[in-house]
């Protein structure tokens, strides 16, 4: 019995050590994932969000993007090249249209085709309620390219894939 208890404690201790190592020395994959978590956090909006939080979040969104973001979607008017300032401005306007907004990412498939380049295919869901009361629920499969610039992974290309083609 003592041996088994010792074994369980040893397994728990080893687990804590492994978690601490992951936390203190994150892999490149985790650093890439973190950028998505930040984007999700800064785009999302709780009902009744105050102006300071809104200003802080929308200002930070731009810092996740490279000098030029190439966006490709099935909506031609949205496709094009955007600067971080333009993205922040678009995010501000977009968030103003919603009383609540939630952006979540799932099923990350991360690869590193070249040094300093990360390719991520994932599922993105956007849920929210507009200020006019309309419920929005969109799910897409974007393919994102992030480039490592000054030790930070920044979004440089986003292409929204088509899962169902009408």
């Amino acid at each position: 019995m003592v041996k088994i208890r010792f074994l369980i404690m040893a397994v728990i201790a080893a687990g804590i050590v492994v978690l601490a190592i992951f936390y203190l020395f994150p892999s490149e994959e985790m650093k890439v994932k973190k950028q998505f978590h930040l984007l999700s956090d800064w785009v999302s909006k709780d009902p009744g969000e105050n102006v300071f939080t809104t200003a802080r979040k929308t200002q930070r969104i731009g810092s996740l993007f490279a000098e030029k973001l190439e966006l490709k979607t099935e909506i031609d008017s949205m496709s094009g090249s955007y600067s971080p300032e333009e993205i922040s401005s678009l995010a501000t306007r977009g968030r103003l249209m919603f009383s609540s907004l939630s952006l979540k990412f799932y099923d990350f498939d991360i690869s590193f085709p070249e040094n300093g380049i990360a390719k991520v295919i994932l599922t993105a869901t956007l849920k929210g309620r507009s200020t006019t009361g309309e419920y929005v629920h969109e799910t897409h499969e974007p393919e994102c390219i992030l480039r490592k610039i000054e030790r930070r992974w920044l979004f440089s290309n986003v292409e929204i894939g088509e899962v169902l083609k009408k």
Binding site: M1, I4, Y106, D107, F108, I121, L122, L164, K166
Partner: protein, 169 residues
């Protein structure tokens, strides 16, 4: 079996001793449950109204991944279409398979020019969609609830590689 022995066995069942045999058994059960419910029969929580009234918003089901192990999806099958992984899927009905021409005329589904009977569509629909051919290794999927305008419904053709399986019921 006397009362003391019975109580002991009940106690042993709910508060088992941490013996190696018990730990191995618990590990095997956990592994089997992970393999079965994580890769073969995945629990689904249905969110949305596109398959109403066949599948209600908020209902629970299981995705049977072995559904197409020896066959291909066919018309009227309900399938789960994946996005990048299996966390988020679309539940839709196959209405046409590869090579067929599909169109909607005043809400009626036509495949290769012939009207298809769809008893699962309960709500009135007035959709119009010009004919289009389903590509190779693809199927055309639509939800059962077509009461909304055609622009607001998520449907179309998708690769059969995206089909993960079928709902269990």
């Amino acid at each position: 079996m006397n009362v003391v022995a019975f109580n002991r066995s009940i106690r042993q069942f709910f508060f088992p001793s941490l013996t190696p045999k018990f730990l191995i058994r618990a590990l095997l059960v956990a592994l089997c449950a992970y393999l079965f419910f994580g890769h073969i029969c995945i629990p689904l929580h249905i969110k949305g109204y596109s398959m109403e009234p066949t599948y209600r918003n908020g209902s629970v089901n299981f995705l049977w991944k072995l559904g197409y192990l020896f066959s291909k999806p066919k018309r009227h099958d309900v399938v789960a279409v994946r996005f990048a992984g299996k966390r988020v899927m679309l539940l839709k009905r196959v209405v046409a398979v590869e090579g067929e021409r599909i169109e909607f005329r005043k809400g009626r589904l036509l495949v290769d020019g012939k009207e298809i009977d769809e008893p699962y569509v309960r709500y009135p629909c007035d959709w119009n969609l010009p004919p289009r051919q389903v590509e190779k290794d693809s199927v055309y999927v639509v939800g059962d609830n077509r009461s909304m305008p055609i622009e607001e419904h998520h449907f179309g053709q998708t690769s059969t590689k995206r089909i993960l399986g079928v709902p269990l019921w």
